[in-house]
């Protein structure tokens, strides 16, 4: 099905009697590539960039300088172009990906404008605004690509390969990780995703794709000057991607096709309509962008997609990844918390809490609101670091380690509000848990060499879904699950990751009675298999019926520990919950 994209190659043949439309087709192919670079950067990784044209410019100028000034072959120019784009992306990305929220796109605006001005002013190097002419044509296997027809075939072929590569990316561990990162960095980190590193890699890939587009542009027009690499151009590409639907491949391609045609059509039509010359198409862009943002904020493609028949991906049938079943003697201490302390300013949230978690048991951590349960929870999982005390997991000290490191050692957590990724399917959400268990890097993924591993990862996720009873909904989008099902999905994700110590933060919140029973049933059967569960919750009925042991906190301190029955009778506990009179 994905190979249908190669049908694009028919277009030059259809259009060959119209040389002008061949030129347009070439511009479409190049714009589509830049739009795909935005798919990676914005659609997958969630970073908006106003600087894609600057990366194009890097690719274009690199090859122009090498071929015109130094007389080298254009293929060397390609290497240089990609290299320079990657270098620029590394420098820019290194600084920029750590910026939060809207600071990131603002800084890309700064870079874009600065580079444009430099390109225009370094007259000795770049020829300034006059530009550089006489770039040689590309020669492929002895055939010079100097006509619109040949170049269109070439660039569309490259486009088709790029589409395949990015489709591979989307359906891989990296694609899932990027989407997770985009939606919720904290949750992604808890699954072993290193946010800064992954973002930088996405930035690099995006820059390289735009650089490639710039290289092709230079050898198509055989002329380079700063104007096509300006802020206006970057905005144009962003508009294409966003208007078409930056989250999907058909979306950005639609946007690129729509605006390439529109641009030219507007240039010819508007002066006819309005009776005089003028750059009216910029007005058109602005207005269309505004309309799309208001009426179809996710772009045009999602509107069209609804009318198309949905393609079902099959259920995974491969052999699941080998995951360690929980091993070791029951009752052995798997998690030890010793004297944990944390203060926020003047408030001592956790004041020296100690307890131990034994394999195969369900331990409940309870206490009134503000007792410090969630803080303790976060201290153990690495979301915040303690001011004092130790946490030891399976014999290894994990005090103060960041969440993804803690996770790698076998401890997994869920969140108070389910941190799921609604655009991914249930299966893909669960598969996120396998992120650390799989290893394919960007190169392998883009080239499609990760298939076997991917199949196994999906199978692992499927098996986890079966374990929690959600396998029937595997291919549904996660946003369609009920709250109870979302909780189960979170647990499935943990299971898929191979974590054997599960920390659940208020898993019963928002659940109906039936769903609570299902949850309790699942947890008990997991405990029987040797999983260890620490659960923080308020629902007394659930806790008392489910937990093997209970730890009670109040005002940051542990005030009681024991079986549910023992704890219920403890006067301190009753005082904490019910007030002094009950004691």
């Amino acid at each position: 099905m994905r190979y249908l994209w190669f049908l694009l190659l028919l277009l030059p043949l259809l259009l060959s009697p119209f040389p002008y439309y061949l030129t347009l087709l070439n511009f479409f192919a190049l714009s589509a590539m830049v739009a795909l670079s935005l798919l990676v950067l914005t659609g997958l990784a969630g970073m908006t960039s106003f600087a894609q044209a600057a990366f194009m410019g890097m690719g274009a100028y690199a090859t122009a300088l090498l071929t015109v000034k130094a007389g080298f072959s254009p293929w060397l120019g390609l290497l240089a172009g990609l290299g320079l784009s990657l270098l620029l992306a590394l420098v820019l990305g290194g600084l920029t990906v750590r910026l939060k929220g809207h600071f990131l796109p603002l800084s890309t605006i700064a870079w874009q404008v600065a580079l444009y001005i430099l390109a225009g002013n370094l007259v000795g190097l770049t020829g300034g605004h006059t530009g550089m002419t006489d770039l040689p044509p590309l020669v492929l296997l002895g055939l010079p690509l100097d006509t619109g027809f040949r170049y269109a075939l070439f660039s569309l072929l490259l486009l088709a390969f790029l589409i395949l590569a990015l489709d591979n990316l989307r359906h891989s561990r990296l694609g899932r990780a990027l989407l997770a990162l985009r939606g919720d960095a904290l949750a992604a980190a808890s699954f072993g995703v290193d946010p800064a590193r992954l973002r930088l890699q996405a930035f690099l890939l995006s820059g390289a794709i735009a650089g490639l587009a710039g290289f092709l542009y230079a050898h198509f027009l055989r002329f380079v000057n700063p104007t096509p690499f300006s802020l206006e151009a970057s905005i144009k590409y962003l508009v294409m991607a966003v208007a078409g639907g930056v989250g999907s491949i058909p979306g950005v391609l639609l946007g690129a096709a729509f605006f390439t045609g529109l641009e030219d059509w507007l240039k010819d039509l508007l002066p006819l309509l309005l009776g005089r010359q003028g750059n009216y198409e910029t007005i058109g862009y602005g207005l269309i962008l505004a309309l799309i943002l208001i009426l179809a904020p996710r772009g045009l493609w999602p509107l069209l997609e609804r009318r198309l028949p949905r393609r079902e991906r099959g259920l995974p049938r491969a052999e699941p990844l080998p995951l360690q079943a929980p091993a070791g003697p029951r009752g052995e201490v798997v998690l030890a918390v010793e004297g944990l302390r944390k203060a926020f300013g003047g408030l001592l949230a956790v004041a020296g809490v100690s307890f131990a978690l034994r394999r195969g048991e369900i331990l409940a951590l309870i206490g009134p609101n503000g007792a410090g349960k969630t803080t303790t929870f976060n201290l153990i999982t690495g979301a915040i670091s303690p001011d004092g005390g130790r946490v030891v997991l399976l014999g290894r000290e994990i005090t103060g380690l960041p969440p993804h490191r803690v996770h790698a050692l076998g401890l997994g957590r869920t969140f108070q509000h389910p941190h799921l990724f609604p655009e991914l399917s249930v299966l893909e959400n669960a598969a996120l848990g396998t992120h650390l268990g799989t290893r394919a890097g960007f190169f392998q993924v883009l080239l499609g060499l990760h298939r076997k591993e991917e199949a196994r990862a999906l199978a692992t996720a499927y098996r986890a879904l079966k374990r929690v009873g959600l396998e029937g909904l595997a291919l549904e989008r996660a946003e369609r699950l009920s709250v109870g099902q979302q909780r189960l999905l979170e647990i499935a994700r943990l299971l898929a990751s191979g974590a054997t110590v599960l920390l659940l933060d208020e898993p019963a919140a928002g659940l109906r009675a039936g769903e609570k029973r299902e949850l309790a049933h699942l947890l008990r059967s997991l405990a029987r298999e040797g999983y260890t569960v620490l659960i923080v919750d308020h629902d007394m009925d659930l806790i008392m019926g489910l937990a093997d042991r209970v730890v009670v906190m109040n005002y940051g301190e542990k005030i009681a520990e024991g079986t549910p029955k023992e704890v219920q009778k403890d006067p301190l506990v009753r005082a904490a919950y019910l007030g002094e009179e009950a004691a």
Binding site: P105, W111, Y285, A290
Partner: protein, 325 residues
Amino acid sequence: MDATILGFLLLDGLQNGVVYGLLALSLVLVFAVTRVILVPIGELLMFAPLSLVWLLEGKLPGTLWLALALGLAWALLSRGRGALLPLLGTAGLGLLFLLARGVPPLAYPAVVLLVVYLGVATYRVFFQPMREATVLAFLIMAVGLHVAYMGLGLVFFGPEQFRPEPLLRGEVVVGLSWQGVLVLLFALLAVLGLYLFFRLSLFGKALLAAAENRLGARLSGIPPEEAGMVAFGIASLLAGLSGLLLAPLINAAYFMGFMLGLKGFVAAILGGLSSYPMALLGALLVGFFESFTSFYASAYKEALVFLLLVPALFYQSLRARAVEE
């Protein structure tokens, strides 16, 4: 570099800096209240003097038609009594412009009102419907509007520069014209006025509240839509007046607004998009920096001003509370 040249450069930097400062204040205000980064503020700034030139020649500027179109859209989007304001506004504006064709002094308030109306209508028509959108979505919308308005500026006023007559002629001292003094005075008054407005008036305080916490403000009876319109209105007022005062000094052309706005924006970033005093200081810094780099490395001064943005953004991002997007 002798004392006179130093003096010239400082004066020049000051003059430019205060204009950037006014723009920066407007940007910070609008961002604080509505989370919109008002990229088209440069176009609004230029529309004032350009419309003035047209009106003084007895012609109706295209910006009036834009205001009418936006007003119509506004009226259609509002229901019932809400449509009254835009309808009255456009009628009043049209009348004022027709009158001003015969009475030149009326032209000045006419164009200022026009720009304010454009600003408020822009908010109402384009930004208010984007209910709970992210800052990013607002930014993309703002960029789109900037592109559209700049294109319209070209259509309405053509590509050439214009030179409205200065309100005051002559020079105080070589390098500082009376018009320049007017600009400085206006900037001072505007800053003072904003300060008093926020500190002393109930509505000003309410505006700040709406900026801090939209839900809380709404629960206390302050409608965020109103706050948004007032913020945009103030920003347009400042921009329009700045444009009128500045145009005799630098000429006015449809494309000039963007660069001015962008530098005001650099200044606003230096203030973290949240602090007014820092934004003003940032603006002066940008003004002086630009002045001196134009002396020493004229070809690269624009690039350097933008590169100034990078460490500023970096610093801001480290300081900022984690904004969940």
